[in-house]
Point group: C2
């Protein structure tokens, strides 16, 4: 597809971002950190008015949205911490070495620099945490890259209001004009993604749209990296011993995880594998009482959920544990209560086509496995890449000393091959924003499973390395100077070969 | 393009690689390190016979090839060092924290794991260092990924002989069968690259072939990362003061860098910008005496060089400093002596189309710039992404205190925006293999400028992160266990928020 020409308005947006790039890259990590904290403060200051708009536009509850603003502000501050720590720069110094294995080694120093302007396509289901000021935006700004946000059509008014908060705070903090801009409309986003001045893209949304955008990014005359966080069904495996130990607790956690935010989370557990004849289905039915009806995000998602739900319910062998339902109001919004169904492994195989695809909304499928099933083998049989995989084990199984320990190890290994995060005795919804977090698994969960969109490691997506060879101190970036004025971690290579392997001489 | 079906022979190759992946990933870093050192030893043990084949197939000199074997063996040992050090695993541990900004933080631990089978397309111009056992292969094996090498058609016999050395050594070191395999033919390589079991590709070669393969990788049903190291013209900027200080030394270094390996290096300086009326052209002419005739790698490269050379010599305003030439033998091989030409900046602008594209072979262009030229502005005017950019300054200029210091800083900044490595007072050929090395610049120098194909950081290309949440110690990878049996660096996050920004409370 040839790149779409920019409208005059979009040309201004991209030109401003490109013009801002050098000055923004030249701001110190501490300056950018302060500016990001100012944005976090401004966001919390505007919480009441923003949540009011968000509730109206998305149908999410005030409690959920209020918590999400807090999460979003904390996330911004964590990136500010990341900047000041400086480890994200991956500063490496190899001092000159006259006694290197291959003769003289020059002085080589390497640091990560911002890639330039980035476009971020917002998500519908997190109007704060994965939208205008969400994790992608925070990591792009923290990296020192001018940000162009493509607003999600599901909450345009909230997007404008949040953008105003951000732009005002960044301006007041002395950041260059043009480091933060908002655009509306898919065509506008597509056109900006293809502009040669834009150097990377980030996206949270469906597999089909994510793939379309990833292909556009890859097929540009100058290809750019594209970080798409797409769909996931997040399988859960529960052992008989775990269920025997705490069926009610597990059932309650499962129902909460499936129904929270009306199931509209990419980490919702879509499948739970339990031993057949287990007491868990009954415990789930008992836990799923008085579940509130919840509006889905928009009419399109509502219709899609309704169709998937009906297809699943009518697949051979599927029986409801929690019937749930969906009704439509006059505006076309669907109002749903959670649906949980059970199916035997045999029927799951037979009805695979109808069942295995993600159902975005409050629905999950319990698969009952015969005694002796090789659980590790089920992972590649039924699933492609996923964000998460979960295992619930008993206390004794967790110690690794039970008879089924090798089978459990094989299952953990199989999950680690297919997912970005393996959880034990917990639920995949509610992703902690921390340095070790990994939110990104093999395709189609993401377009790029070597990176994460949640956690402070997300900043690395918008940086690239540059090495300086024999550079005089006066021309080195601060992070690479011996005097280390920023106080960042510097990995300094030892002289000579660091290790002897007892092998032949290398001279 | 639909994926080509695998021949029965290739099906076996890919199936063996896929079958070997789990066992290879499960080997300890030390076990893999020992195996890689064994390969290095075996390579050096076979040096005499391999160099004899290489000289015959490539036309490169015995001295160059012997040095290249040493470099290749040292490179393998450096990756073994990298494995034992363990920093490449990027192990991160966020202990559980009841007092986190958002409430309870779970225990999250993250490590990099091998991506699975990888195909590496060998280069023609480094029959050892970027071929069967070159830097890409070394980093793929070190990462723990089964390797399928696509031999370069320019040295098939050497490829087979080197592969035999590698496979034998790996087998003797106890590595699983199928971790190292060689295939021949572009169609075979294309088919393997598109197989769903193959998880990444590496390539060194031309922009056109690299782009073709990158597009195939990106457009697979399940896209995979593709690391192509393509073309580069590596501009050099020389100040009047540097030339006044050491014209003869600079001229000699330049001629050596342009003519070494018959100019068939991706880091060859293709352009040197000098002040007009400088004494450098005369010094270059004086340095370029008795330059040996050298066979180019193959007839195709020879013809292409001949055409580029003639086009450059006949462009308006181009005058030879060192005439050089090329003659063809009966087998169609070209034998070249170096050509160096000069052109004014004005004529360079006029003849831009004819001059700016890479001339792969012993040829370089001196561009003479009028007094007061904004050198920083020339970088984006004439060049896309490059592997390297070089600056030669005087001792006083290097101290950063001369009147032109701001202009020099702007030039360094402009270069850092377009290249992967910025050099001072040296030459870009001869890339040190060290932890801080960066060999990869923006498109079209590489398909992925966030990674490097030279230096120990190259291993990261073939790893992806997996996080473990609340995992019992018995199910954690060794690198993430508190007891740290591998002794790898572990980044342990502090409890609570690490920093106070004086902002509003986050609770």
């Amino acid at each position: 597809m040839p790149a779409a020409a920019l409208t005059p308005e979009l040309e201004l947006v991209v030109a401003r971002a490109a013009a801002a790039a050098p000055a923004f890259a030249a701001t110190s990590p501490t300056e950018r950190g302060r500016a990001i904290v100012a944005v976090a403060d401004a966001l919390e200051g505007a919480k009441a008015s923003l949540v009011e708009i968000a509730a109206r536009e998305t149908g999410l509850t005030e409690a959920r949205l209020t918590g999400e603003v807090t999460r979003t502000a904390v996330q911004l501050r964590l990136f500010a911490d990341t900047l000041v720590h400086g480890g994200y720069l991956d500063a490496r110094i190899d001092p000159a070495d006259d006694d290197f294995a291959l003769g003289v080694r020059p002085d080589v120093r390497r640091v990560l620099i911002p890639v330039g302007p980035v476009i971020n396509f917002s998500a519908s289901n997190f109007p704060f945490a994965f939208s205008v000021l969400g994790g992608d935006s925070a990591s792009i700004l923290a990296a020192g890259c001018p940000l162009i946000v493509k607003a999600h059509s599901g909450h345009p008014e909230l997007s404008d209001a949040t953008a105003e908060v951000a732009a005002t705070a960044l301006r007041a903090a002395g950041m260059p004009e043009g480091v933060f801009q908002l655009i509306h409309g898919r065509e506008a986003g597509v056109a900006v993604l293809q502009d040669p001045r834009v150097r990377a893209g980030a996206f949270t949304g469906s597999i089909s749209v994510g793939r379309l955008l990833a292909d556009l990014a890859a097929n540009r005359p100058a290809p750019i990296p594209f970080f798409g966080e797409l769909g996931s069904v997040n399988p859960v495996f529960l052992t008989a011993a775990a269920i025997a130990e705490r069926a009610a607790e597990i059932a309650s956690g499962y129902v909460t995880s499936v129904s929270g935010s009306a199931g509209q989370l990419c980490t919702k557990p879509g499948f739970a594998f339990v031993p057949e004849d287990s007491e868990l289905p009954a415990a789930i039915a008992a836990a799923a009482v008085d579940l509130a009806e919840h509006r889905l995000l928009d009419p399109r998602i509502s219709r899609s959920f309704d169709e998937r739900r009906q297809a699943i319910l009518s697949a051979p062998g599927v029986r409801p544990i929690v019937e749930g339902g969906i009704r439509f109001d006059d505006a076309g919004h669907g109002w749903a209560t959670p649906t949980i169904v059970a199916v035997s492994l045999e029927d799951f195989r037979t009805s695979r086509e109808a069942l295995v695809e993600e159902a975005f909304g409050p629905l999950s499928i319990v698969v009952e496995t015969p005694d002796g099933t090789d659980l590790a083998a089920l992972v590649p049989e039924f699933f492609e890449g996923n964000l998460t995989g979960t295992l619930h084990v008993s206390e004794a199984e967790g110690a690794g000393s039970t008879a089924n320990a090798p089978a459990l190890r094989a299952l953990v290994e199989a999950l680690s091959q297919q997912v970005g995060r393996v959880l034990f005795n917990g639920w995949s919804t509610g992703v902690a924003v921390t340095p070790a977090q990994q939110h990104g698994g093999p395709w189609p969960a993401t377009t790029n499973d070597t990176s994460t969109s949640v956690g402070t490691a997300a900043i690395t997506r918008f940086l690239r390395p540059v090495a300086y060879q024999n550079a005089p101190a006066a021309f080195l970036p601060l992070a690479l100077q011996d005097a280390n004025p920023l106080g960042v971690p510097q990995a300094i290579a030892p002289a000579g070969e660091s290790r002897s392997w007892g092998s032949a001489a290398t001279a």
